[in-house]
Amino acid sequence: MMRSRLVALWLAALFPLCAAAAGLDIKMATTTSTDNSGLLQYLLPKYEAKCHCKVRYTAVGTGNAIKLGENGDVDMIMVHARAAEDKFVKEGHGVGRRDLMYNDFVIVGPHADPAHIHGMKDLDAALKKIKSANAVFVSRGDDSGTNKKELELWKAAGVDPKGANYLAIGQGMGQTLTVAGEKRGYTLTDRATYATYKDKTGLEIMVEGAKNLLNPYGVIAVNPKKYPSLNYKGAMAFIDWLTSPEGQSAIASYRPKGAQLFFPDYRN
C-alpha cells in the first residue's frame, strides 16, 4: 500500500517533467547578431510568458544555422541570407518562409579617414575610393552572412578588394572591429555590434543608409514532413507571434541605449 502510494507520488512528480520534455520547448538556430545585440533576451521572455514554453536557441553563423535546420537539429531558423534561405525552402528543408525584420549594415573607419569617404551616399563609389586609396580594409573572412554580404557589395561595385591591405581575419564581428580599430582600417559591420564596440575601437560611421546596406531577416520552420518528430506546431505558433502586430511592435520597441536596432517588416 505504502509502496504503491510512493510510486503514484513519484509518477505525479515526474509528469510535469515529461510534459516539458514532450515537445513544448522550441529549438531555434539563429545568427550571432540577434543574440549579441540582446534582441532575443528581450523578445523571448515576452513570448515564453504567453505560451508557457521555452525557446531554446543556439546562435551561430548563418551558414551553420541553416545546416542545423537541414539536419533536423532545430525546429526553426531565424537567419539573414536571402538566397540561402530560398534554397533551403526550395530543397524541401523548410516551409513557409516569412520576412521578419531588418537591421542595417554600415561602413565604419578611423577618424583620420584616409580614403575620404565620410558621409558619402554612394556606396559603390565609397568602396572604389577605399581600394584606390589603398586603405586598410578588414574582412570577416569566415563565410558568415556579413562576410557574404561584404563580398556581394565589392562585386556590385566592380572592385576586386584583394591586396596587401585587405585583411581577412576569419573571426567574429567583434574581433573584426577590434582589428580594424588597431590597424586604423575600414570594415563592414552590422549596426548593433558596432554600437557595442564603438567606444572600444574609436571607429566612426563612414557610410550608412544606402539601399543595399539593408540586412533582412527571415524565419523558417523546418519541414515537418522531413522530420516528423520536430515541434512544428510550437515553431509555427512562435513564428505567428513574431509576425503578429504584437510581436512586430515588440521588435520595434527594443531600443538599447535609446536607438532602434531592428525594424519589423512582415507583410501579409
Binding site: 551558414g63 551553420n64 545546416k67 573572412g141 569566415d142 563565410d143 585583411l167 581577412a168 581575419i169 576569419g170 573571426q171 574581433q175 582589428v179 580599430g181 588597431e182 590597424k183
Partner: protein
C-alpha cells in the same frame, strides 16, 4: 560524418601545394625559428648560470621560471596584447596583429622551457668537467664553454623542445596575431578557423603537417637524448 572524403582532399591539397596551406606552414616555421634563435642564447646562458652558480635569490628565480612553464599561453597573449595595443604603452610601434607580435609571444613561451631544460642538462653533467677544466688553467668562461660542449645534446634537446612547443601554440598566436590571411594566419590558427567554417580538408591537411612536425621533433629529441646518455 564521412571522414574519408575530406582526408582524401587533404592529401590532394598537400600534394598540389595549395597556396593558402603553404603560406600558413611557412609562417609557422619562420616565426618559430626566429623566436627560438632570438631567445635561445640568453635562455641557455641563464639556465647555465642558475645551474652552476650560487647567489642570493637564485632559488627564487628557479622556482619562478619553473612556474612560468605551466603559465597559460593565453595569459601571455593577453599581456602582449595589452602592451602592444594602440592604448598600451608600446602602441606607437604598431606591432599588434603582425608576425613580430607572434614572435614576441613565442619567445616568452619558449623562454622558461629553454631555461629549465638547460638547468637539468647542466646539473646532470659531471661537475668534475668544470673543475678539471679550471685545474688545467681554463678561465671561468672557457671552463663554462667546455661544460656546455659536454652537455650539448641536452641543450639541443631544450631547443628542439622549445621549437615543438611554440609551433603548435594557438592561444597567444590567435590573440596577438589576429589570424589575418596571408599575414599572421599560421598552422594552428588556420586549423581552428577551417574547422569552425566546416572546411575539414584544410584542417586535416594542416593537422597532418603539425603532427608530422611533432613526431619529427620527438624522434629528434629521443635520438639526441639517447646519444647524450651514452656519453
Amino acid at each position: 560524418m564521412n571522414l574519408l572524403e575530406p582526408t582524401r582532399r587533404a592529401f590532394a591539397l598537400l600534394a598540389a601545394g595549395d597556396p593558402r596551406l603553404v603560406e600558413a606552414i611557412w609562417l609557422s616555421f619562420w616565426t618559430s625559428l626566429v623566436a627560438i634563435a632570438i631567445i635561445a642564447p640568453p635562455a641557455i646562458a641563464l639556465g647555465f648560470l642558475l645551474a652552476k652558480r650560487r647567489f642570493p635569490g637564485q632559488r627564487a628565480i628557479v622556482v619562478l621560471v619553473q612556474a612560468l612553464l605551466s603559465f597559460p599561453t593565453v595569459v601571455i597573449g593577453l599581456v602582449i596584447y595589452l602592451l602592444l595595443s594602440r592604448r598600451g604603452p608600446l602602441g606607437f610601434m604598431e606591432l599588434l596583429f603582425t608576425p613580430t607580435a607572434i614572435i614576441l609571444g613565442y619567445t616568452m613561451i619558449a623562454f622558461p622551457i629553454l631555461v629549465v631544460f638547460t638547468i637539468s642538462a647542466v646539473q646532470g653533467a659531471d661537475a668534475r668537467i668544470y673543475e678539471t677544466a679550471r685545474c688545467l688553467g681554463a678561465g671561468r668562461v672557457r671552463a663554462s664553454a667546455t661544460t656546455l660542449r659536454e652537455v650539448r645534446f641536452g641543450v639541443l634537446a631544450a631547443v628542439v623542445n622549445g621549437f615543438g612547443r611554440v609551433i603548435s601554440e594557438v592561444g597567444a598566436a590567435i590573440m596577438v596575431g589576429g589570424n589575418i590571411e596571408g599575414l599572421t594566419r599560421n598552422i594552428p590558427t588556420a586549423i581552428a578557423l577551417e574547422t569552425s567554417k566546416g572546411d575539414f580538408a584544410q584542417g586535416i591537411a594542416l593537422g597532418l603537417v603539425l603532427m608530422t612536425v611533432a613526431l619529427g621533433v620527438n624522434i629528434a629529441l629521443a635520438l639526441l637524448q639517447g646519444r647524450g646518455g651514452l656519453r
